[in-house]
Amino acid sequence: MTEFFISLGMDATWAIVVASICGILLIALPLMLAVAMIIYVDRKVWAAINLRRGPNVVGPFGLLQSFADGLKVFLQETIIPSASNKGIFLLAPIITFTVALVAWAVIPFDAGVVLADINVGLLYILAISSLSVYGVTMAGWASNSKYPFFSAMRAAAQMISYEVSIGFILVCVVLYAGTFNLSAIVEMQRGHGFGFVNGYWFNLLLFPMWVVFFISSLAETQRVPFDLTEAESELVAGYQTEYSSMAFALFWLGEYANILLMCALNTLLFFGGWLPPVEIEFLYWVPGIVWFLLKTFFFFFMFSWVMATVPRYRYDQLMRLGWKVFLPMSLIFVVVISGWLMLTRYGGAA
């Protein structure tokens, strides 16, 4: 894109700046639209599994429901509790939302279609996703109210716990791919299974890691069955209890943008990103970005499916699963996978 702006007669520095801003808008605006529609999809899937109709009033098939909701919260009054810590109270939803957006900078939608093709893309994602805990924690503390505070404590403990095992799973993928760059990781998955199947899921050592990663990403985005932070039966609405209007909407949008990010990561790390599922010539007629979006949508469907069918975990069960099951398991797999690669790929010579 930079070349295009230079060809318009711009200075090279300015062309980079303008191209970056255009790239950011090209990602952020469709993402916001996607979040609005995916909330609708979520509610429809949830309703269908519960044998309900779901949103069906606003627009054809209720398609415009999310926009109506958006307009509603936009017109509401922003209530700031008088006992709250005002600066941090308002900063928290902004941080949640911003962090959910900036992680998309390194996601490759197609071969070469990526805003920042950096060497340490995967680490960047890990770093940014570790920031998302701050929005929740700050919201819970600044509300100066007991249920949000409980929720903030839970969120901090839960996200740190699952980030550890996610980190080890990413190490497994990086060991196989030999790079932190997300585009290169996708390219390495081409023909991984017998030169035919594209994706690391087709691997006896990595498939269990994908299962663990999928469950951990549910926990990391605080989706059912791990939505202990907003467990309505115990904590009213958790950290969002004191929020109203746009501040509440920002939490909501940020949460769904994070969920989409996790779906995209599942796609990129284990299911071959923009590559078609198998190496057949005519499957390449479909553009890569369509494959990427289809796979991401499939994982979102799985998230919805889980949400509609699985009851919430107890808090001690959540901690046990994270620390006593996933952490040892992913740690063992790091050792096993490095050993296996040492024997097969690097010829056993240390």
Binding site: N85, L123, T137, W141, F149, A152, A157
Partner: protein, 205 residues
């Protein structure tokens, strides 16, 4: 552009570092500290150490500072008491600051005096020119400094085990103990049974 970014990050880092100390509310202090970490990561990206920058964010912002925040939020800190101890601890603080400054000056001076030769004489673990700093760090840590690196790992492991041993208390006698394997092994057929207990006897679970 780079110069502008450098001054932006550096100014923000100094400002948030100062505010970490001057903020009256300890939670605000921790949040300013997090901003300082973040800007330090930005500076590292500017000098081309992107791997270290990301690790700084993952480890310090993502884990260590969260625990700080956790503890500071939970403790109800008395500000007046903290201010009273300020003059008493000031000499110690100054001493630490002087030591850190001296180390920085010494390190930069040594670096200026001549580049530190990295890598073994036979070139087996020399920095790989033109590779990303992930590969370079890997080659150095797992080549040249393998034993030092592993020793550091062992020390951390011992510290971790020590911390767990010191804080772990066996509580089986005082609290109800749950057997996870037993809970998981339950199935619907065994989970319910019909009993007709005598009055005042209760049921064994």
């Amino acid at each position: 552009m780079t110069v502008f970014a450098f001054y932006l990050f550096a100014a923000l880092m100094l400002a948030s570092g100062a505010l970490t100390i001057f903020a009256r509310n300890p939670v605000h202090s921790v949040l300013w500290l997090i901003l300082a970490f973040f800007n330090a990561a930005g500076l590292m990206v500017l000098v081309g150490a992107e791997f270290l920058a990301m690790l700084l964010v993952v480890v310090y912002v993502g884990a260590v500072a969260v625990l700080f925040l956790f503890v500071v939020m939970m403790l109800n800190i008395d500000f007046a008491e903290m201010r009273a101890g300020f003059m008493k601890n000031a000499p110690l603080g100054v001493a630490i600051a002087v030591i850190l400054l001296a180390e920085l000056v010494l390190g930069i001076g040594a670096y200026r005096a001549g580049k530190i030769a990295l890598g073994t004489p036979d070139g087996s673990a020399a920095p790989l020119v033109g590779e990303s700093n992930v590969e370079n760090l890997g080659a150095l840590l797992y080549g040249n400094y393998l034993f030092l690196f592993e020793t550091a790992g062992i020390i951390l492991l011992v510290a971790m085990v020590g911390a767990i041993v010191l804080t772990h208390r066996e509580q089986r006698s005082t609290r109800g103990h749950q057997d996870i394997a037993k809970q998981n092994a339950r199935n619907p057929n065994e989970a319910t049974r019909n009993v007709s207990p005598e009055v005042g006897k209760g049921v064994e679970l």
